[in-house]
């Protein structure tokens, strides 16, 4: 390969391989004295390269320490993803905190700490707020007016839930087997029924009783609500 014929290729290759900017002296130093191109020739070559890169993903720029080839701004949103960090895992403490907020909302940090038996770091709360899975829904009217946390629509969307009722009840959670079964099958409504089916006579009876209670409460409240409705 004759360097004068392929000056442009050599300059391009050197700039790409160097991983840093090269000034004209550094580019000249690539060549033997006999074949060393003049600086104005190198400058010309660099301009030609810059011209050829028009409309490409890279560009030749002159910076303080010389010339370098870099990714064009237009491409950087995509190229930047090369360095996107692999998401890690959330800590157990965070998961427990999130679960308690989901099941016991509105709830204060102190109440979460009481149930978990350990303190909840501010980091965890901040992470959950930043992720927009929880939000402050109010303040408890006690000294210090601690924030009350609740879950968000984003939380439901992320976990593919229509409403919090799609989550298994605590009773179902207690039974590990039914939980496992439930999580393998997508339909939570069916599963809740199955869980009841599977847990024996006593539980079925208890559930029935509970259902009756709920129905009663609902009925009386319903009446109240009906009145409101009519009023509206």
């Amino acid at each position: 390969m004759n360097p004068s014929d392929n000056l442009k290729q050599i300059v391009e290759a050197a700039l790409l391989a160097a991983g840093r900017a090269l000034n004209l002296d550094a580019l000249q130093a690539l060549f033997d004295e006999m074949e060393r191109p003049e600086k104005k020739v190198l400058r010309q070559v660099l301009n030609e390269l810059a011209e050829e890169y028009r409309g490409r993903g890279i560009e030749v720029v002159e910076v303080a320490s010389g010339w370098r080839i870099q990714v064009r701004k237009e491409c950087s949103p995509w190229v930047s993803r090369l360095w996107e960090e692999k998401p890690g895992r959330y800590s157990r403490a965070l998961m427990e905190t999130l679960a308690l907020i989901a099941y016991r909302q509105p709830i204060t940090r102190g109440e979460i700490e009481e149930i978990r038996g350990v303190s909840v770091s501010s980091n965890i709360i901040r992470t959950l707020l930043e992720r927009e899975w929880v939000r402050v829904v109010g303040h408890r009217d006690v000294p210090g007016r601690p924030a009350l946390y609740g879950t968000t629509r984003e939380f439901l969307d992320y976990f593919g839930l229509k409403s919090l009722d799609d989550l298994p009840t605590l009773a179902e959670l207690k039974d590990l087997d039914s939980l496992d079964r439930e999580l393998e099958l997508p339909d939570p409504d069916d599963e809740a029924v199955k869980a009841l089916d599977g847990s024996g006579e006593a539980l079925a009876a208890a559930a029935q009783e509970e259902a009756d209670n709920q129905a009663e409460v609902a009925a009386s409240l319903g009446q109240a609500a009906q009145e409101i409705h009519e009023e509206a």
């Binding site: 790409l16 391989a17 991983g19 080839i69 870099q70 990714v71 950087s76 190229v79 930047s80 360095w83 996107e84 960090e85 998401p87 890690g88 157990r92 998961m95 427990e96 679960a99 308690l100 989901a102 099941y103 016991r104 909302q105 509105p106 149930i115 978990r116 038996g117 829904v137 109010g138 303040h139 408890r140 009217d141 006690v142 000294p143 210090g144 609740g150 976990f159 409403s163 919090l164 009722d165 989550l167 298994p168 009840t169 605590l170 009773a171 959670l173 207690k174 939980l179 999580l183 209670n213 409460v217 609902a218 409240l221 109240a224 609500a225 009906q226 409101i228 409705h229 009023e231 509206a232």
Partner: protein, 280 residues
């Protein structure tokens, strides 16, 4: 029998007194001194210092130098030359790997077997005493060649160079971890187990939508101004939705998270978040 050989074999525990051994036996005559017309190229000593990768490599060199095929090894000749080299290395006090001596022994043994009239049974087996050596030489030569071929491939940093350009407008996002619903539920189960929450019946039966609604109502009301009670209901949700909202309001009242005010009988009901009783 040679003097040197006698000396070695005569000892109970033969010590390698190798400088007295014949470096070669040519046509039955043991040779003690290096012939002046040795086939050693002038730079051979240099070559010896670092060029050979063991006895097989040396043997290959000796064979190839004469443009011979491995399959037609002139064993006597090659053995003699090999011994000469070994002797020379010893004289130069080069550190001699044990493998070279093992090979010398092997060559000597093969040679002697070839000299013997082959017994009948061995003839039937048809096993050339050289067969094993030839197999090893061939095998070694293949990989010696493979190593050269490998060395000839374009290597990063020697023949080809990696490229790396700057990304001046790098915008790296940190992706949040993914969470599986199951992980969330398992975490809850564990924390509740620890807190023994399962034993509390009213907790286990509470519909979660009520709690969700409590959050929503609480968010809708402000501590600094009143909200119309009706505004908390979304009649498009239908009867069930209204009931849940109502229950949520009752629960919030019970927990004193909200306050309700009715200025006059049948007047509009107003709701606000519990007033601030700052202790500070």
């Amino acid at each position: 029998m040679s003097e040197a050989a006698e000396k070695i074999t005569g000892e109970q525990e033969p010590v390698p007194q190798q400088q007295e051994m014949p470096f070669a036996v040519v046509e039955g005559e043991p040779q003690y001194t290096l012939p002046k017309d040795l086939y050693i190229p002038p730079d051979a000593l240099e070559v010896f210092l670092d060029a050979f990768e063991g006895p097989l490599d040396l043997l290959l060199y000796l064979i190839r130098r004469q443009n011979l095929d491995i399959l037609d090894i002139p064993l006597a000749q090659i053995t003699a030359q090999y011994m000469e080299y070994i002797e020379m290395m010893r004289e130069l006090r080069l550190e001699l790997a044990a493998e070279y001596l093992v090979m010398a022994a092997m060559l000597a043994e093969i040679k002697s077997r070839m000299l013997l009239p082959r017994p009948q049974e061995e003839e039937e087996e048809g096993e050339d005493p050289r067969a094993e050596l030839i197999r090893r030489l061939q095998e070694y030569e293949r990989f010696k060649q493979a190593a050269e071929d490998l060395h000839g491939l374009p290597q990063v940093g020697r023949d080809v160079f990696p490229v790396q350009v700057e990304v001046p407008h790098r915008q790296v996002e940190r992706k949040p971890p993914d969470v599986d619903l199951k992980e969330l539920l398992l975490a809850l189960r564990d924390v509740l187990k620890r807190a023994d929450m399962f034993s509390r019946h009213h907790v286990t039966r509470e519909p979660l939508s009520l709690r969700e609604r409590m959050s929503r109502v609480l968010e809708a009301v402000r501590p600094d101004r009143f909200t119309d009670f009706h505004e908390l209901f979304d009649i498009t949700e239908g009867r069930d939705g209204v009931v849940v909202t109502f229950m949520a309001i009752l629960e919030l009242l019970k927990q004193t998270l909200i306050e309700m005010v009715q200025a006059e009988n049948f007047g509009p009901i107003h709701v606000k978040a519990a007033t601030c009783h700052e202790s500070q």
